[in-house]
Subunit: 315 residues, 2 copies
């Protein structure tokens, strides 16, 4: 089984207003849509699209729980989310108007998670994880969550000998890297923060990370990614596509990577699906849509170059 | 019993962001508060503050029902709201940043109300209303609600011989004025729309309305109001106060008016409470707070002038 853990879930509220969004007057919304927010839940959505059995774990707020559950139900996402009483799942509000000045994005912080719910999550992991399982932890932490709590989760999973993939940043990323896990996907900025901007090159930093971490993916946005595994480092380019919205592209990358990995595919195939699906996501308006067939049509425009060897181009 | 009816309820989401609200980047909310929205619910809140027994009727969405119910519970509002499955109570989003450029307000349209729920509301009115009751219908209509449905509600209440107060606008106001009800509170613009901008003066229009409607209040914002009752027309001035937020001031006026009216107070007292409480509301940041003691302290700064008679100043 693949489990995803979203500690700080979100609901995306996409609001369209006519004319120009203006302060000091009432702007009437003529369309409102809801979408999944929270990186771990996005990964669950990707796995579900790949028909990979998975279960979303984490927390949700009680006061807008039916809304969140209706969004999860529409996407057919299997979940066991612990409910925090009196709390609302945070929203990421995106307001679009008729101008081309870009959308207005407002993100809320999320609710405080009780010690009881944290313990319940730990208990669940204790009880149900087996060493065949894969666990993906992704996204920000709730405002009151401590690194110690995160590490308790990681420790519990490590004791069960599961494969652990993390899409975290800042202190949380540093803490899980220290512990040694199986997969990380920072972007270039997050890697630099991790090394406190020391003077080695990005490549050297990735190689250092790859000593402890089985799969190190460093996303470079439109420029593709570096993927390090064992002693090998690959540079993967992304196909040029018409960009509409790159929110969620990283989650599609992680979900597609895990979906291929769990099927035992070779690293080249894994990288092609992850890169192709992520590029497909970028062409969509919302933060969760992507198309697997479209992704496959990009495969011949994705190059995978093994760095530091004679056999430069492997595809 | 006093009943309020809110056909298109709302939740106010007040979001504070640091710095300057900017498109094309993520604006992080550092504070989020919820407040009651929907004029009828606001009137219920005012009545409850005056310790007047009342019940809020209308519709709410299922998907954020616990949030709405927690807001109602905090304000101790008694309600019998019909739940629309799969629907969200609309939000009025108010975003404030650190600049003095005013807040950004985005209002959603509301959900479609099913025929079943409309019938349930009619059945409730049939079953429970008595001729001693007062019914206040206030606010906008749901997107799919028809004037015929509104008139069915009005007819049902009229058949029970209740006192009917309406704070409506546009077509809905025109329709209820045609039927003849007991109280309306349009602003000057809404009166002009009602008379399709014909050339008579505002005073003449108010007098014409007062032939059919027992109490005609025309709000003039900071300039106070005109109040017509039977053959008498009064000009009421509002005390000058430090304005922070005038949203909800009209609902406080209506609620205070009804709270005094139901206690059998004389029209002068009714007008003083309505005007004073409304002025107190304007000094508060959110859309529901006001202070009755503060309102009473304004009484000697409220003048009530009877128009078209020798005894010009009655207070």
């Amino acid at each position: 089984m693949i489990y995803t853990i979203t500690l700080n879930p979100a609901i995306d509220r996409l609001i369209k207003v006519k004319g120009t969004l203006t302060k000091k007057r009432t702007n009437r919304a003529h369309q409102v849509e809801y979408d999944l927010g929270g990186k771990g839940l996005h990964v669950s959505n990707v796995l579900t699209k790949f028909n990979m059995e998975n279960k979303a774990l984490g927390y949700i707020g009680e006061t807008n729980r039916p809304l969140m559950e209706s969004i999860l139900a529409k996407k057919n996402i299997c979940h066991h989310l612990l409910v925090e009483d009196g709390a609302s799942t945070r929203e990421c509000i995106v307001v679009m108007d008729d101008t081309n000045a870009g959308s207005l994005m407002i993100t809320e912080n999320g609710f405080h998670v009780s010690k009881e719910n944290h313990s319940k999550l730990i208990d669940f992991l204790h009880q149900f994880l087996t060493e065949k399982d894969i666990v993906v932890i992704a996204g920000s932490m709730p405002p009151n969550y401590t690194i110690a709590q995160l590490l308790e989760i990681i420790n519990t999973i490590k004791n069960k000998k599961c494969f652990i993939a993390c899409d975290l940043s800042g202190e949380a990323l540093a803490a899980v890297v220290d512990m040694g896990i199986n997969f990380i996907k920072p972007n270039q900025y997050e890697v630099e923060v991790l090394f406190q901007n020391n003077q080695t090159t990005l490549i050297q930093k990735i190689k250092e990370l790859a000593i402890k971490i089985d799969y190190v993916v460093v996303s470079l946005g439109k420029d593709g990614s570096y993927v390090a595994h064992k002693d090998n480092l690959y540079q993967v380019t992304s196909p040029t596509v018409k960009e509409r919205n790159d929110t969620g592209a990283g989650d599609v990358f992680v979900g597609s990577f895990i979906a291929q990995f769990v099927q035992g595919k070779d690293l080249k195939t894994i990288m092609k699906y992850a890169t192709g699906c992520s590029a497909s996501k970028v062409t969509k308006h919302n933060s969760t849509d992507f198309d697997i067939k479209e992704a496959e049509s990009y495969f011949n425009r994705i190059s995978i170059k093994k760095l530091g060897s004679d056999e430069d181009v492997v595809s």
